[in-house]
């Protein structure tokens, strides 16, 4: 089974975000990056499917040179080879343009399965995978939390809202968007890190970052959300003092203690 996993690099979740001067995006100069959370789970699922059924896992990441660290980490965890779609602007394009370029980069692979994360933690479009499936002519399922690929047909468990679930069957090749928590993620081993150095990373440079004539969604301004609730902040920077005041408030105002 040949499996392609799409992995995006996003700002580290613990990073304190600052808005740039033009208020068009966050300040990127001193930002640290990590792999998008659900994409890490998509890779793990691909590796497990390969262990069970044999085949090959190919990771594909699109963006500036910095995304190489996501690729290298995936190779160290056990992916066989990688495709890097290179371009500085490619981290900031809408999901239709992104899916168009990604489709171009991976369609020659003729994979049996494409796995993506269910949504990116920065832009949060929740669309790239589904659009990609449409462009590749594949059936898809979103928010997948279990995959059974042992039979002729693919059988997947989808998470629905409010504690409901549903199994779907569909033919291969197919695209699945993976939900976080589908399985426990492995760490890269030293051996894996060494082996990764010899693995192929194919670079692809798209002709244009804006296929089909440009961006369909343009961010004009970003800002911190307006706070709607009057929060009483306690401690004034001193966490321990805040804790003491809080206990007192819980007794005298909230009357919970």
């Amino acid at each position: 089974m040949k499996i392609i996993v799409l992995m995006k690099q996003v700002a580290n979740k613990d990073a304190i975000l600052r808005i740039n001067k033009a208020a068009t995006w966050i300040e990127e100069a001193d930002l640290t990056y990590e792999v998008n959370e659900s994409d890490g789970y998509a890779l793990e699922e691909a590796l497990r499917l390969k262990e069970k059924l044999g085949g090959e896992v190919i990771v594909c990441s699109m963006g500036p040179t910095r995304v190489k660290s996501v690729i290298k980490d995936a190779l160290a965890r056990g992916a066989d080879r990688a495709i890097h779609v290179v371009g500085d602007e490619l981290a900031h394009i809408g999901p239709f343009a992104a899916a168009t370029i990604l489709a171009e980069a991976i369609k020659g692979e003729q994979s049996d399965l494409v796995l993506t994360g269910l949504q990116s933690d920065d832009y949060g479009f929740a669309q790239t995978g589904v659009i990609l499936a449409e462009l590749l002519g594949m059936p898809h399922a979103t928010i997948v939390i279990e995959v059974d690929a042992s039979g002729e047909q693919l059988r997947v468990k989808r998470e629905l809202e409010n504690g409901w679930y549903q199994w779907y069957t569909m033919p291969r090749p197919a695209l699945l968007t993976i939900q976080s928590g589908i399985s426990q993620i492995r760490y890269a081993t030293l051996k894996g890190i060494m082996a990764a150095k010899k693995k192929e990373i194919r670079e692809v440079t798209p002709a244009s970052a804006a296929p089909n004539g440009g961006s369909h969604q343009r961010v004009t301004k970003i800002y911190f959300p307006e706070k709607t609730k009057q929060t009483q902040f306690l401690g004034n920077g001193d966490a321990k003092a805040g804790a003491v005041q809080l206990a007192e408030k819980l007794r005298s105002e909230a009357r919970i203690i």
């Binding site: 979740k13 966050i26 239709f96 949060g124 479009f125 929740a126 669309q127 589904v130 659009i131 499936a133 449409e134 462009l135 059936p139 898809h140 399922a141 979103t142 928010i143 998470e159 629905l160 809202e161 504690g163 409901w164 679930y165 199994w167 779907y168 069957t169 569909m170 033919p171 939900q179 976080s180 928590g181 426990q184 440009g214 961006s215 343009r218 961010v219 004009t220 301004k221 970003i222 911190f224 959300p225 706070k227 609730k229 929060t231 009483q232 902040f233 306690l234 401690g235 920077g237 001193d238 966490a239 321990k240 805040g242 804790a243 809080l246 206990a247 408030k249 819980l250 909230a254 919970i256």
Partner: protein, 326 residues
């Protein structure tokens, strides 16, 4: 010339879901701002539910009908909606940001060579008829104003809670128009939806919940939060990543894919406050948030906030609570 606003009315198991009425409110308000008529569309095998929604103030209700719409699949819904959108040629297509819409709307938009302005919170329309959508990015930490240079149709989804369902306007009975839609091959075959066996822990009756998020850093530190919960006589709960990592069982998870709770006191420790978490706990009586990031969205719904390190806060708070309780 494309015109009007089309709102997608979602239903499951024979009933519209609550967020559909929020989408209706959003579409009606957009219609008022732009002076454009609003049409609702219901996909189904017959017109039963479409007649129900006709009680709202719409220009008309389209009942898109085909036997393949008896149950939801992305293939059938996309084909049907594509047919309706082509027939009506609306300027805007408004949908609720549900799991079902997330599953087919991007595919639908792709058929028109574009994507969806997804998960919006608000819109602002000016006199010239241009619309700015605001959506939340970075897991709720930042808002972004977005304009689209698309020709019609523009597809947009609104987040749960962005509009109030009660604000959707009733009308005098909109005409229902049946439209037989063509649907090609449907490749996915759904089995009946089900719920997992009853959860071992029912947090919905807890009075006090101490909830931990990724800020707790490692599994060993959970004991700290447990001691606080014990001192308060409360239960321990968590955000999704904690349960994903296997540090706590899934029945301790709060949020859209976990439990919904409304305790008297909810203490969120190292939880950022993503919408999927907030929907599970925002109705708590008193909400306390401890986070080292002053911009963390959890503070937006907190009554009391401490900006600081949870490892400083928890032990002191536990001691103080014990003292006060005597």
């Amino acid at each position: 010339m494309s015109n009007g606003i089309l709102v997608f009315a979602e239903h499951r198991a024979g009933a519209f879901n609550k967020i559909t009425f929020e989408a209706i409110a959003a579409a009606q308000q957009l219609g008022t701002s732009l002076k454009q008529p609003v049409t609702a569309v219901v996909l189904n095998k017959d017109a039963g539910l479409a007649r129900e929604i006709a009680a709202f103030n719409f220009d008309k209700v389209i009942s898109a009908e085909n036997d393949k719409l008896a149950e939801y699949t992305p293939d059938a819904y996309t084909d049907a909606m594509q047919h309706v959108v082509r027939a009506l040629d609306p300027r805007y297509v408004i949908m609720p940001h549900t799991y079902l819409v997330r599953d087919f709307a991007p595919k639908l938009a792709a058929r028109f060579g574009r994507s969806v302005v997804s998960d919006c919170l608000r819109f602002a329309a000016d006199d010239g008829g241009s619309v700015v959508f605001s959506r939340r990015i970075f897991l709720g930490k930042i808002d972004a104003d977005v304009v689209t240079e698309d020709e019609s149709p523009v597809f947009a989804t609104f987040q749960s809670g962005a509009f109030r369902g009660e604000q959707s306007e009733k009308g005098t009975g909109a005409p229902v128009e049946s439209m037989a839609v063509e649907i090609g091959e449907v490749r996915m075959h759904p089995e009946p939806a089900f719920q997992e066996v009853k959860q071992a822990v029912d947090l919905s009756k807890a009075d006090v919940i101490v909830a931990i998020g990724r800020g707790i850093k490692s599994q060993e530190h959970i004991a700290l939060a447990e001691q606080l919960a014990a001192a308060l006589g409360g239960d321990l709960a968590a955000s999704r990543p904690i349960c994903d990592a296997g540090w706590l069982p899934i029945d301790r998870q709060i949020g859209s894919s976990g439990q919904t709770v409304a305790p008297k006191l909810y203490i969120a420790l190292g939880i950022s406050g993503a919408i999927q978490h907030l929907v599970g706990m925002k109705n708590a009586g008193t909400i306390v948030a401890v986070n080292k990031d002053p911009e963390a969205p959890i503070f937006d719904i907190a009554d009391y906030g401490i900006v600081g390190d949870l490892f400083d806060v928890i032990p002191t708070l536990t001691e103080e609570v014990k003292k006060l309780k005597g």
